[in-house]
């Protein structure tokens, strides 16, 4: 079970809901992924097109836990404002703190992220910050009381996979709260690798929504995350420099 604050989940795949080709495909992808946590963004309504459909209306909210993000915020204050709006929906108490500090790489601003987390924890939110893969920052965030830490594998939407597995493994080793690898995952092998390193979960969006067949990719990601988790708990052999025979060296015919 993945435990985040008071919540517990069977699935270790957290799925983003952005940029799917259409709602039908999205709904099927979400179902196939078996994700229980779905991320959303908070945006102004289009008051000139009131009947525009909304994906949230198509979901049975009893089956999902919403994880709104603060995307669009550049400061702690903006993030807190978005988080409060999200909570006012009455649908969620978790918040993904996402404060972008650089427009080109979409890397998070660590100082504003810490500040926002402190403010939101004070207000009783279940706080999941999206961070860089900085080991000390992850520890500092845990110390102030965040409920999970979400280091990026690579820049958002880049599909580059885990750029720095060493840092990620340091973060995982030291953490007493869930570590969810967020952003930059492109393929099932990336997702599985994150889980093999001991991550508690993976949050991805574009890897599924941008695939030629999003529903099929949702299933591939689900299986990869399960496989990676199984491998981690099974205990993998260490890598060796030279070969070790799998067949016995006794009873050879030519001995």
């Amino acid at each position: 079970m993945l435990k985040i604050g008071p919540h517990a989940f069977h699935s270790r795949l957290l799925l983003g809901t952005g940029k799917f080709p259409n709602f039908e495909i999205q709904k099927e992808a979400v179902a196939v992924s078996e994700a229980e946590i779905l991320t959303f963004a908070v945006r102004r309504m289009n008051i000139y097109e009131p009947q525009q459909p909304n994906f949230l209306e198509m979901l049975d909210l009893e089956h999902y836990t919403l994880l709104p993000n603060t995307a669009g915020a550049a400061t702690a204050e903006e993030a807190v404002r978005i988080a409060r709006l999200a909570k006012a929906s009455g649908l969620c108490d978790m918040i993904k703190v996402e404060i972008i500090g650089d427009a080109r790489t979409l890397l998070p601003d660590p100082l504003e992220t810490v500040k926002a987390c402190e403010m939101l924890l004070e207000e009783g939110f279940i706080v999941l910050p999206y961070t860089s893969d900085d080991v000390v920052l992850a520890r500092r965030l845990e110390q102030i009381g965040v409920h999970a830490i979400m280091p990026g594998a690579a820049p958002i939407g880049s599909g580059q996979g885990i750029i720095n597995p060493l840092n990620l493994s340091f973060i995982i080793e030291q953490a007493n709260i869930p570590v969810i690898v967020d952003a930059g995952i492109g393929s099932p092998s990336h997702a599985s690798y994150a889980m093999e390193l001991g991550a508690d979960g993976v949050l991805l969006n574009t890897a599924v929504s941008g695939a030629r067949q999003p529903v099929q990719m949702a299933q591939a990601m689900k299986l990869a995350i399960e496989a990676g988790r199984l491998a981690y708990t099974a205990g993998m052999i260490g890598a060796k420099r030279y070969a070790t025979a799998s067949s016995p060296s006794e009873g050879l015919l030519n001995s």
Binding site: V42, M45, S89
Partner: protein
């Protein structure tokens, strides 16, 4: 009544004697059956209180919702 809604000016024709609530505005915009989260002059108005919240001239209102995002 002149308001700023989602960053744009909006004129709401009302009977001068009637008080206009936030819910009246939401209904007027055709958003009655939507999940609307409202902020007036940077203060969030709880969803249960939209009908009781009376609007004043020149208030700045944000009507937001959840959209797809990662």
């Amino acid at each position: 009544m002149n308001l700023i809604v989602n960053g744009r000016p909006l004129s709401l024709s009302t009977e001068s004697s009637e008080r206009t609530s936030l819910q009246d505005l939401i209904d007027h915009l055709g958003l009655t059956d939507k999940l609307v989260i409202a902020e007036v002059d940077k203060q969030i108005v709880d969803r249960g209180l939209h009908s009781q919240y009376i609007l004043q001239e020149d208030m700045k209102i944000e009507l937001v919702h959840f959209v797809g995002g990662g």
